[in-house]
């Protein structure tokens, strides 16, 4: 095997410089010292994921994993400074949430190289020389006891980790993931990204998108329509709240059609759950459903999201295989690497997501058709597709802020079951699949995204850090319940009440988007893509009024987009003429004979009156050929430092540093401001919090 078994190996130094660092009540000391940049050498703490009040691991058991002392350190690990700028700029490299531990192995050093797999609750059979911690996020931490002089405590340390892990998994089963007391003192913080928990946030979002035909509905304010839905969402203005309630009942889990994104050209992107086939709607119900789906458009394209995309089980299996392939001691010969990679099918799924998203975004932007994404549960692939479509079509979503609010809107607020999908043994990381898709776009369009690969990595690593509620609950309702937001008014229903009482939302306004809780300023600076071309940003694009290419068709034509082709549908909902279930399903299917004919002579099946339109300037069409879909090496191959190497993107930032240095020099000599100064002052606060 070419890469043998080397990972990031660290020795444990007897803590000297920063005593007790490892024992910090995880981040409880954060609030007061916000302005001072956090030391990158925090080292990190194995136990940072333990229960509040339960971090009383015995002193020597919290080793400081010190990257400075090295023993055959891999490429780039000369010291913390070096480390910060090159390979992995995120210090969270040494932070291992207990949930994140995928596999724990103790290695016996007596030349026998015995390896014991440590499960929660298992007993060590020997004094380990080395501890291997395989992260579920593809990281590998190697803790060498001998060279660090911690040999005597090896047994204790290892057992402490094993126990902590057992406790945490127990706790997880009965309580859901516990939350650390991060940022408790900082109650006055304004969320960096609107969390979409108030109707003002939604109103702001509506205005930003310029969705004039839409309004914020308060029908789910008490989560009685659906607990998995946010309290507020956007519905067509002409539809009354009573109609909304009426219509939503006929969708799976009450997840009726809501606006995801409004295209300035006039078309809309909607998402909804599957039709609740067991229901027996009356005429008015059907009319309500139809008017919500159509939202005032004559043509509507229904997209069967599941079609051609991987199922949840597929994603799960692919991710497991990918992880098996990417561990440092994977036994794949280097000349068989490519077919092994193909065998995981992960890249294939990434490709199909990109392909579908690209087709849909052409429909929405270039053909200016309204599209309704329909997935039975509406909580997984719908979110993935609608976010990808927006990334492709809206330059706004490609900014740092825009992307965060996109994730907050389409994933967090929309009720993606993060806890189920990412926790536990049967994890189905749909969100990580999404991040991989975004990374592909970043690779393909290095000048179009304001955020960098490191930002994606930080997000990737944050999904299991028990700091904030963002990724640790399944629904907005659970999240709200935990934070005690609506304790005061869940009892009493007050119509028209649109915002929760202030002061009730204390500390739990904190979200994953509060990056400064976990990352230093230097690291946050790296979230910014130095190669971003602001000329392609949202401001450059939006003012130019999109010419509307909407062409009136025959009244109420409905299309189904499936298998890469459009087929006409008789009607939107399956129930209209015959309420009987069997008849419904047969009618629901596109007329096969007709559609295959129309495919042959109409190619994509596009109605002839939809003219071909020039592609709008902001639209990105991703490549999704075999050679264009790559492996996210910086993420998946982190366990193998040999494979990590510099990227040209870093050269850009190097140049930018040089530029600002030179400008600084010039400014010293010239009293007047230098005119050509377009390199932004790179300051984390401006990057993260400029008006979102």
């Amino acid at each position: 095997m070419w890469w043998g078994g080397r990972g990031q190996s660290f020795n444990i130094a007897p803590h000297k410089e920063e005593p007790e660092m490892g024992l910090r009540g995880p981040k409880s000391d954060q609030g007061g010292r916000m302005p001072e940049p956090r030391s990158r050498r925090l080292g990190g703490c194995l136990a940072s994921g333990c229960l509040p009040g339960n971090h009383a691991l015995p002193m020597p058991l919290t080793p400081r994993l010190h990257p400075g002392l090295h023993l055959g350190l891999p490429h780039g690990w000369q010291g913390p400074e070096y480390l910060g700028h090159l390979d992995t700029p995120l210090s969270s490299d040494y932070d291992f949430a207990l949930v994140n531990i995928g596999r724990l192995e103790a290695v016996d050093g007596l030349g026998l190289s015995r390896v014991q797999l440590l499960r929660p609750g298992s007993q060590l059979k020997f004094v380990p020389e080395e501890l291997l911690i395989h992260g579920r996020d593809f990281r590998l931490l190697r803790v060498g006891f001998e060279a660090g002089g911690l040999e005597p405590q090896a047994w204790q340390v290892t057992m402490a980790i094993v126990q902590a892990r057992a406790q945490s998994s127990q706790a997880q089963q009965c309580l859901g993931l516990p939350l650390t007391k991060a940022g408790q003192g900082s109650d006055s913080r304004k969320p960096p990204i609107p969390l979409l928990e108030t109707s003002e946030d939604w109103e702001f979002e509506r205005k930003k998108q310029g969705a004039r035909g839409w309004r914020v509905s308060t029908v789910n304010e008490r989560f009685d329509v659906a607990t998995s839905l946010p309290r507020y969402f956007l519905v067509p203005s002409r539809v009354l709240d009573s109609e909304v309630r009426r219509a939503f009942g006929h969708f799976h889990q009450g997840r009726g059609p809501r606006l995801s994104w409004h295209h300035p050209g006039g078309s809309d992107l909607l998402r909804c759950g599957g039709f609740y086939t067991a229901s027996d709607p009356n005429k008015e119900d059907i009319r309500a459903v139809e008017s919500m789906l159509q939202a005032g458009h004559s043509d509507v394209v229904l997209v069967d999201v599941v079609d051609e995309l991987p199922g949840l089980a597929d994603v799960q299996l692919a991710h497991l295989r990918l992880r098996a392939l990417c561990v440092p001691d994977s036994s794949v010969a280097e000349d068989k690497w490519l077919s092994a990679l193909e065998g995981t099918r992960w890249l294939d799924y990434v490709r199909s997501c990109l392909r579908k998203a690209s087709d849909i975004s052409v429909l929405v932007t270039s053909r200016v058709r309204s599209v309704v994404l329909q997935e039975r549960g509406d909580r997984d692939l719908n979110g993935l597709l609608s976010s990808l479509v927006q990334l492709l079509s809206a330059p706004e979503a490609r900014t740092l802020c825009g992307f965060q609010s996109l994730v907050q809107r389409e994933w967090v607020a929309a009720g993606h079951p993060f806890l189920t999908r990412l926790g536990g043994t049967g994890a189905t990381p749909v969100f990580l699949l999404f991040l991989d898709c975004v990374w592909q776009l970043l690779q393909q369009f290095p000048a179009e995204f304001e955020f960098s690969e490191f930002f994606l990595l930080a997000l990737h690593d944050s999904v299991r850090v028990p700091d904030t509620l963002t990724f640790l609950r399944n629904t907005p309702w659970e999240r709200g319940k935990q934070s005690g937001q609506f304790s005061s008014y869940t009892q009493v229903y007050t119509p028209g009440y649109s915002h929760p009482p202030a002061g009730n939302s204390i500390n739990l306004q904190l979200s994953v988007w509060d990056w400064d809780l976990r990352y230093s300023n230097e690291q946050i600076l790296q979230f910014h893509n130095p190669g971003y071309n602001p000329e392609h940003g949202p401001d450059a694009w939006l003012p130019r009024q999109q010419v509307s290419f909407l062409v009136p068709g025959p009244p109420s034509s409905v299309w189904l987009f499936s298998k890469g082709a459009l087929t006409p549908l008789h009607q939107l909902c399956p129930w209209r003429e015959s309420p009987s279930l069997l008849a419904v399903s047969s009618r629901w299917l596109p007329r096969m004979a007709v559609s295959s004919e129309s495919l042959a002579d109409q190619e994509w099946g596009l109605p002839s009156h939809w003219g071909a339109c020039p592609l709008p300037p902001g639209l990105l069409l991703p490549g999704y050929l075999g050679p264009q879909i790559r492996l996210w090496r910086r993420c998946y191959l982190r366990g193998r430092p040999e494979v990590q190497m510099g990227l040209s993107a870093l050269t850009v930032s190097g140049l930018q540093d040089e530029l600002s240095h030179l400008q600084e020099l010039l400014r010293k000599w010239t009293p007047r401001a230098f005119p050509g100064d377009h390199s932004k002052k790179r300051d984390p606060s401006t990057i993260l919090s400029h008006s979102c």
Binding site: H75, W77, E342, Q628
Partner: protein
């Protein structure tokens, strides 16, 4: 005339109109026939180029399958190229059009660039060769640079079809005589206009001085000397007129076996160890002769195994390493992945992309070459031993490995002139049989092995992994690989310097015929305008600061070694005794009795290699020092620019590396101008000239296939895998309907 003959329709001044025809029916063509001939564009001929045959009313498909778009025009075959003269595409004052090759147009295929020709008979595709009984309705040409052309001959007169098809087949596929190469007629006709470019600093290695200079540059002149025994090719036609051997090597040894069996110097490392190559002695059965060989090699051994020479380690490239056959098979499988006739075919294979790629094993061959080069680097650098490369003629894998080692170890070889000099030294003068390996004369398909392309691909891997270390870009490598098939440059059209000199009349005693001076490919201004040439230069490359001053003086001879490490004395190795065995291996190998798997597979060697490799990669990279490529599974990649550039589906508008590149260039220029300002303030020196505006300075979105594939920009429609967009109503149609537009978005 300056080399631009004008032939044909006389309509040269007329403004070309677009003539996109979709779903062309024969009757349409017939009614349009007059118009078509009037609209023809002119054919530009190079000096000495002759028109051989032509056909009109040929349809060139722009995109296959769903779109059925065709451009009508003339198909022409000259003794240099096949050209399609359609009506020009609407002029685009985009940056992309400016990267135009001055010799080869977008629709030109040089005869040597043709790989395979297929005809379509009743929807069936057949390979075309020899005499044809029936003529196809469609002609598909696969090129060696991986372009695929489709020409529809359905509307062409039968006479013309016969003439053009048999003409093309004959001129591209029939065996040719060397003297019939277009190179000669061009050189003869263009003699007056070929100016030698004095600006170019590429060392050609055709004089004794050049070799001495190289010896001095690498500090090899202590132990090695340049010899001129082969002047006039008196000893051997395989070797160049001048080369370098160990200083004590007597001249008669060189003569003895026509230069076989003697160590020839390639390059010296900073620590004094050297890379040598040797062509094997002819295989003999006779014991007496074998005895003679043995004693001869013993003598050689005694010379090079004695101090001051380092211990010699042999690498037998013809038995323990790749075979040419393997390379040939791998590449022919590999290229099929990119020679795509239509997009359906493409999408069918797309899903199995990785396993198809792997089964071609081209990437694995690249990995093995890089690995071998690293192993040799380790011997030279860490073990401080001399490495002797051994091969049948020392002209295939020897060239590949020794130049790879030099690219990795010698930063000079990563500059443009250094790289070009390296190719001159190792490949052109080293006697790589370009003529046979590229099958320029179509004499034997068996001999056609893309060794040089393999080398370029290996270098590409390095360029891709360490962009700041190279002065040239991947675009440079791509156009260099294209230049292999342009027969106006002599560089890649001979098997040896001897063959070139005799055929170019340099060595002939006939005083009446003046020797021809053909162009070299290194004169890039022949192919590209200065603006386009900026794309060949890597904006990220930073010269070594020390060197900077030396180069500003512009003195050719003042090139210094880049690696300024002190010349260390060879360690007195404790392993001396061990080397008796090694000698036996050496001699056995040299005698042609192949002992496989003895020399390279020892565990110790593997360990040394691993340690060296890991050690290097654990340190930050010095771009001016030693470079070791990553060779793990995920690290060897497909040279996307070269192989995917003609595939419209591979285009990403506004994406790809180009996007970062333009940003980089912008910033580089800004840094430069700021630095100038600072210089000005401090020293009030004269301003340096600002760089010529670059093609990339442009905020428009470029395609990821930039600077290639100009055509595909028109297909702004997304390509859908399952079927594809139908061309629905053209723009005029749309304009008519514009008044009727109703915004339904806010109803």
């Amino acid at each position: 005339m300056l080399g631009k003959g004008v032939v044909g329709g006389g309509g040269g001044t007329k403004t070309p109109k677009p003539s996109f025809v979709s779903y062309v029916r024969p009757e349409e063509i017939h009614t349009n026939e007059k118009e078509v001939t009037e609209k023809e564009v002119t054919l530009h001929l190079l000096p000495g180029e002759q028109l051989l045959c032509e056909a009109s009313a040929v349809l060139k498909y722009v995109q296959e399958e769903s779109c059925q778009r065709g451009v009508c025009g003339r198909l022409v075959c000259t003794d240099f190229k096949i050209a399609f003269l359609g009506d020009d595409e609407p002029a685009l004052d985009n940056a992309e059009t400016q990267f135009k090759n001055k010799i080869i147009g977008e629709n030109d295929i040089t005869l040597h660039c043709v790989d395979q020709i297929f005809g379509v008979f009743d929807e069936k595709k057949k390979s075309l060769f020899g005499q044809l009984k029936k003529y196809p309705e469609k002609l598909i040409i696969h090129c060696k640079d991986l372009r695929v052309f489709h020409f529809c001959l359905r509307y062409t007169k039968e006479e013309e079809v016969k003439r053009i098809v048999s003409g093309i087949i004959h001129h591209t596929q029939a065996p040719k005589l060397l003297k019939r190469l277009f190179l000669f007629s061009y050189a003869a006709a263009a003699q007056s206009i070929i100016a030698t470019s004095p600006k170019d600093h590429t060392v050609m290695f055709d004089t004794l001085k050049d070799w001495c200079w190289e010896l001095e540059r690498t500090k090899g002149n202590v132990k090695y000397k340049a010899v001129s025994v082969n002047e006039g090719y008196r000893i051997c036609e395989r070797l160049p007129a001048y080369f370098v051997v160990p200083t004590p090597l007597p001249e008669e040894d060189v003569r003895r076996f026509q230069g076989h069996g003697i160590p020839i110097w390639c390059w010296s490392c900073h620590n004094g160890s050297a890379l040598l190559k040797m062509s094997a002695l002819p295989k003999e059965q006779d014991d007496v002769i074998l005895q003679i060989h043995k004693s001869f090699l013993d003598g050689i051994y005694k010379i090079i195994h004695r101090p001051p020479y380092e211990i010699v380690k042999t690498e037998d490239l013809s038995s323990n390493f790749l075979s040419l056959q393997e390379i040939q098979t791998a590449y022919s499988k590999f290229k099929q992945l990119f020679l795509i006739d239509n997009s359906t075919e493409f999408w069918d294979t797309d899903i199995k992309w990785f396993s198809l790629l792997e089964s071609s094993s081209w990437l694995d061959i690249i990995r093995r070459c890089l690995k071998k080069a690293i192993e040799i680097t380790e011997c030279l650098e860490a073990q401080n031993v001399n490495v002797l490369l051994l091969e049948e003629n020392a002209s295939d894998l020897c060239c590949l490995i020794s130049s790879l080692v030099q690219v990795m170890m010698d930063a000079h070889c990563r500059t443009k002139t250094g790289f070009q000099s390296l190719i001159q030294k190792e490949w052109v003068m080293g006697g790589h049989c370009f003529l046979d390996r590229c099958n320029h004369l179509r004499q034997s398909d068996k001999e056609e092995v893309p060794v040089f392309l393999l080398f370029l691909d290996c270098v590409w891997q390095l360029v891709h992994q360490f962009p700041p270390a190279f002065e040239f870009t991947e675009t440079y490598l791509t156009v260099l690989s294209d230049s292999l098939y342009i027969p106006i440059f002599s560089t890649f059209f001979f098997n040896s310097p001897h063959q070139k000199d005799t055929n170019m009349g340099r060595e002939s005693l006939d005083t009446q015929s003046k020797p021809l001076t053909p162009l070299t490919v290194w004169d890039w201004s022949v192919q590209f305008e200065p603006k386009a040439q900026t794309l060949l230069k890597n904006p990220l490359y930073v010269e070594k600061p020390k060197l900077d001053k030396g180069q500003r003086k512009g003195m050719h001879s003042k090139h210094r070694r880049q690696l300024s490490l002190p010349l260390t004395q060879p360690k007195s190795s404790p392993k001396r005794g061990f080397f008796r065995e090694e000698t036996d291996h050496l001699i056995k190998n040299l005698l042609g009795k192949r002992i496989s798997k003895l020399i390279n597979s020892s565990d110790e060697l593997q360990d040394n290699f691993r340690e060296f490799y890991d050690n290097w990669h654990s340190k930050p990279t010095d771009y001016h020092g030693l470079l070791l490529p990553h060779i793990e599974g995920p690290e060897i990649k497909v040279w996307a620019q070269r192989y995917l550039r003609w595939i419209p589906e591979a285009q990403i508008l506004g994406g790809g590396r180009v996007a970062t590149m333009s940003k980089l260039i912008e910033m580089m220029e800004e840094v430069q101008s700021l630095q100038e300002k600072i210089d000005e303030r401090h020293h009030s020196q004269q301003r340096l000239q600002a760089e010529a505006p670059c093609l990339l300075r442009n905020s428009a979105r470029l395609s990821s296939l930039f600077p290639f594939a100009l055509l595909q920009r028109h297909s702004s429609k997304p390509i859908l895998p399952t079927s594809g967009w139908k061309a629905l109503g053209d723009e005029e149609d749309l304009a008519k309907r514009e008044d009727e537009f109703v915004d339904l978005g806010d109803v």
